[in-house]
Amino acid sequence: MELVCPAGTPASLHAAVAAGADVVYCGFRDATNARNFPGLNFSRAELRDAVEHAHKHGVHVYLACNTYPQAGAEEIWHKAVDDAVAIGIDAIILADIGLLRYARDRHPDARLHLSVQASASNEEAIQFYHQEFGVRRVVLPRVLSLDEIRTLNQRIQVETEVFAFGGMCVMAEGRCSLSSYATGESPNMNGVCSPAAHVHYEERGDATVSRLGNFTINIYDSDEKVGYPTLCKGRFRAMDKSGYLFEEPTSLDVTAILPELADAGVSALKIEGRQRGKAYISQVVGAFRASLDKIAKGQHDARSKLSTLSEGQSDTTGAYRRNWQ
């Protein structure tokens, strides 16, 4: 399985290459990708240098251009696709069908991958993207079990990439409006879920209060670990009980089920976290590289040492095993 790793800065890309990534994915410094955070991402010149560095080390670079073009501003997205091809990117990760058509028509030789933001989770949807736009790989939404992935891989002609580590989502990828409702900015079109300008933390005695816009997301006691300030990971009160109504602040970690994912026919493992620092990249990529190398030798260590890097300092195998059912 190919190890696809995140990079939000040139330094992170260097860290990912050094730690053993097969592929590094990144985005331009604008709304064309789903991690449009202040100070993050690549200028055209930085990406050109980054691609040169990665290729020199035998590592591929993918560009995430996976938000939905805003009406009347499509040129920004078109230019991102054109520039990515000119720079020599190895694949472009897209979600919008208009943009997929643009890429197919203008750059018929470009390798196109379908972003998780497209939320294609069944055979018909994936075949449609493959037949209409020549998509060669699909990043599967985090809603499928191992058995479902295995069945899907037996029926489709394209490669599948699954999330292996990092932040979880409420499994409505590309369709979620929670952040947009609270802040007016959408992860799907502006590339920001819970934009930092709308996030506020307050230390209240020993407790930490997190807010998004006018919504209190959580009040963490002194002994509790903190999660991202997204509404889906908020703790709310309903019917006299307070708790995580959507999902708990926890990270995905598939270290324990890597052989099963390989057996299910998965082509690539994606590590989430372009917004994370290079220390995270080095440790997570290094750990997964070691695990994959062991599996290649017929060995497997199911224990993960990455919990300190996880959101809420806890991890899950998510929908792959569906332990909650």
């Binding site: 330094a11 933390y201 930490t208 620092g277």
Partner: protein
Amino acid sequence: MTESYPSFTPFLLANPFIRNAPTFLVARICHHAMATMHHRYRPVFERIAEQEAFALLISPTDLDLQFYLKIDADHPELRPARHGEEETIAAQISGPLPALLELLQGSSDGDALFFSRTLRIEGRTELVVALRNALDGESIDLRSAVAESFGVMGPAAKVALGLAEKIYRQLQHDMNRTADALTSPTATRLLGLEKRTSAQAATMAEIEKTIQRRNRHTRVKPSGTAKDDFALPANP
């Protein structure tokens, strides 16, 4: 802005010296450190120049000293913070000095430090995020920066720094052992209390279930009289 509890690091031992150090000397060291950073890591300041100039309050939770950090592409500033300038501060970052230095060098992940609550942030989050990303985009090497700032005495400074780091690590080890020795009786007692509380909570849950079961069996059916606003009309 909030005051945090002190962190148990060897920097606590430096506080008597810091408290009594002449203000101009501390200000001079800060100024020199910032000038070195600005000269050596110019791209950090260029990257962050996309934002307007802003000031942060850096609060090491193991030092009796807070720093005023002004981020400006051309004229950045680092100095001891003064009372009464809270109004000019866009955000406050609090945490143990070793963690703050690791963050500066990119050897620790900012989100992980935040998840574990080692690091706390208040104020304009987007500016802190922008600074973190700009710093992380560079390969900052504090040891080399310090050595360079000593000019021809650089190699000697590097040796002295190596020795200081060794002493620091030994001190941290000793302080951790001391902390364990001091807290272990309380920790053992707490563990016992936790077990008893868990057992009592389990008993309470069982009692609650039993009461609910009994209530279900003994519940009186609604009478369905005209006085009952929610009663269905009687069958004709």
